[in-house]
């Protein structure tokens, strides 16, 4: 009974974080992007600097008609938003904010988080295939190609970090982290960041939803709450990837007063990464499809392999 209660409490906490953090990132994107473009962004909703803009957006999405076109594959179409959203919830539950503040402390959490977040792409593919829409299908093909090419370098550099720490547990990796890693794993950090942005389908890698070419890609036929779920999954993805980056490469909760301030450090580092991801969207144009593949296979994969080789050589030499 006690264990069941604990599981329930932990699940509720993760769900709360899952509902709050993406909204925080979304609001941050609204405001940061606005100010980077010399605008103010939302100012009215909620009173103070439009803090409730995304809540208001959510209310709007709920009120909209939920349209299911006649030609779609009904089950696939309706299930796709959930398949896109839930994996990030699962991934978030395994990311530690500190050695103690973690919902599910699984032993091989790096593998678990990467595998879970990769399932999210399946939702996009289901939406693309089920929509019975040529733009959705084109966008889905792009998303599939993008996932294939960027998942590989991401897993390679995650393996490099795991190799350096000697464990595949996120908690263990952050505990083994040393400030020198910032230099040692620098190429890995670069590769991971680029691959994460690409996997989130964010600018400059937003080919699958390039509105000037394929309308809204896999999301073309979606309205109302289902569309909102796709948007939420994008921001949840940013949260998961930012926190993962913070734990893997920036030491997570390591910092002054880490015994008490640990989770705050992780959140702060994750927020910095999220701002960086937003910043890239504001400043950079979209890559073309062939440039995207070229970058993945000719730059990121060799770089990731080189990082892996460097890490293994270093680990082997230092262990002797």
């Amino acid at each position: 009974m006690n264990a069941g209660l604990e599981v329930l409490l932990r699940s509720v906490c993760v769900l709360g974080a899952f509902l709050v953090l993406p909204l925080v990132v979304g609001q941050m994107e609204h405001k940061v992007m606005a100010h980077m473009q010399g605008r103010l962004g939302p100012m009215y909703a909620g009173g103070f600097h439009g803090w409730a803009q995304l809540v208001a957006d959510g209310c709007k999405f709920v009120q909209k008609e939920d349209i299911t076109p006649r030609a779609v594959d009904r089950w696939v179409f309706k299930l796709a938003p959930a398949v896109a959203l839930v994996p990030y919830l699962v991934a978030l539950s395994a990311i530690p904010l500190s050695p103690t503040v973690v919902a599910a402390n699984v032993p091989a959490s790096v593998l678990f988080v990467l595998a879970a977040s990769a399932v999210g792409i399946l939702g996009t593919l289901m939406a693309a295939w089920g929509s019975a829409n040529k733009y959705a299908l084109l966008g889905g093909m792009r998303a599939a190609a993008q996932l294939l090419s960027y998942e590989l370098p991401m897993v390679l550099v995650a393996a490099s970090v795991a190799l350096a720490a000697g464990t595949v547990s996120l908690t263990g990796i952050a505990e083994a982290w040393h400030p020198l890693w910032l230099l040692w794993q620098l190429p890995g950090m670069f590769v991971f960041l680029v691959a994460a942005v690409a996997e989130l389908k964010r600018t400059p890698f937003d080919m699958p939803v390039a509105e000037s070419e394929v309308v809204m890609g896999p999301l073309t036929e979606y309205t109302g709450l289902r569309f909102a779920f796709f948007l939420l999954s994008e921001y949840a993805g940013i949260v998961v990837m930012s926190l993962l980056f913070a734990v893997l490469f920036l030491g997570g909760w390591r910092g002054p007063f880490s015994e008490t301030m640990g989770p705050l450090w992780t959140l702060l580092k994750g927020a910095l990464v999220a701002v960086l991801i937003i910043w890239l969207r504001v400043a950079w144009p979209r890559l073309r499809e062939d440039q995207l593949q070229r970058l993945a296979w000719l730059t990121l994969v060799p770089l990731a392999l080189a990082q892996l080789a460097l890490t293994s050589v270093w680990v082997v030499l230092s262990s002797q």
Binding site: V32, A34, H35, M36, Q37, G38, R39, L40, M43, W279, L280, V282, A283, W284, P285, L287, R288, Q291
Partner: protein, 193 residues
């Protein structure tokens, strides 16, 4: 950004300067947006703060009814015929005994349909009697399009919002009225010395 297009390899040679700096365009973009983030925004929060409009702003057309002679020039020049004028003639009795009776136009209706008006200002331009004026007032949107037909009472109300014309630039030619007033009086040829 030029960086992306020039590396695209569509047969064209990239321009030699490529932005003319040491930094690649991508870094420049990041720096530009970061700088903008640090600067205060220049958004004017309109419904809370009223804009400062220049005096010659074309907001709405005001009518000074006393000046109108119902000459119909504005109505006829209007490109989309959105000015409606009705008038009748009135006979004024002679002011002196045995004098001639005078007739004058009385304006019955003057209306501008702002749902048709394209704010070209030709009516203001052609009015010989300065009966029409531009006013910077712009908040007269309506829920019903038919309410955009402003009758002369409404057009007259706008008159109080008309801003006096800005002063002339230093060194500019003097206004036509002043020049005419300052001209020496005409003297008949035989009276000249």
């Amino acid at each position: 950004m030029t960086e992306e297009h020039t590396t695209a390899g569509d047969g064209q040679k990239p321009p030699a300067s490529k932005g003319g700096g040491v930094l690649p365009g991508l870094i420049k973009g990041l720096i530009t947006t970061a700088k903008t983030l640090g600067r205060p925004t220049h958004t004017a929060e309109y419904p809370d703060n009223q804009p400062h409009l220049p005096p010659r702003t074309r907001g709405v057309i005001a009518l000074l009814e006393e000046n109108c002679t119902s000459c119909m020039l504005c109505s006829r020049e209007c490109p989309d015929w959105c000015i409606y004028i009705d008038s009748h003639k009135e006979t004024l009795p002679a002011t002196t005994p045995g004098g001639r009776e005078r007739q004058r136009n009385v304006l019955d209706r003057f209306a501008i349909d702002f749902s048709l008006c394209m704010y070209c200002g030709i009516c203001v331009e052609v009015c010989p009697f300065d009966a029409l004026h531009w006013s910077p007032e712009f908040e007269y949107a309506e829920v019903n399009m038919l309410d955009l037909l402003h009758e002369k009472s409404r057009l007259g109300e706008w008159m109080s919002t008309v801003v006096p014309p800005p002063a002339l630039d230093p060194g500019s030619a003097e206004p036509a009225e002043v020049a005419a007033a300052n001209k020496p009086a005409r003297v008949p040829a035989k009276a000249r010395p």
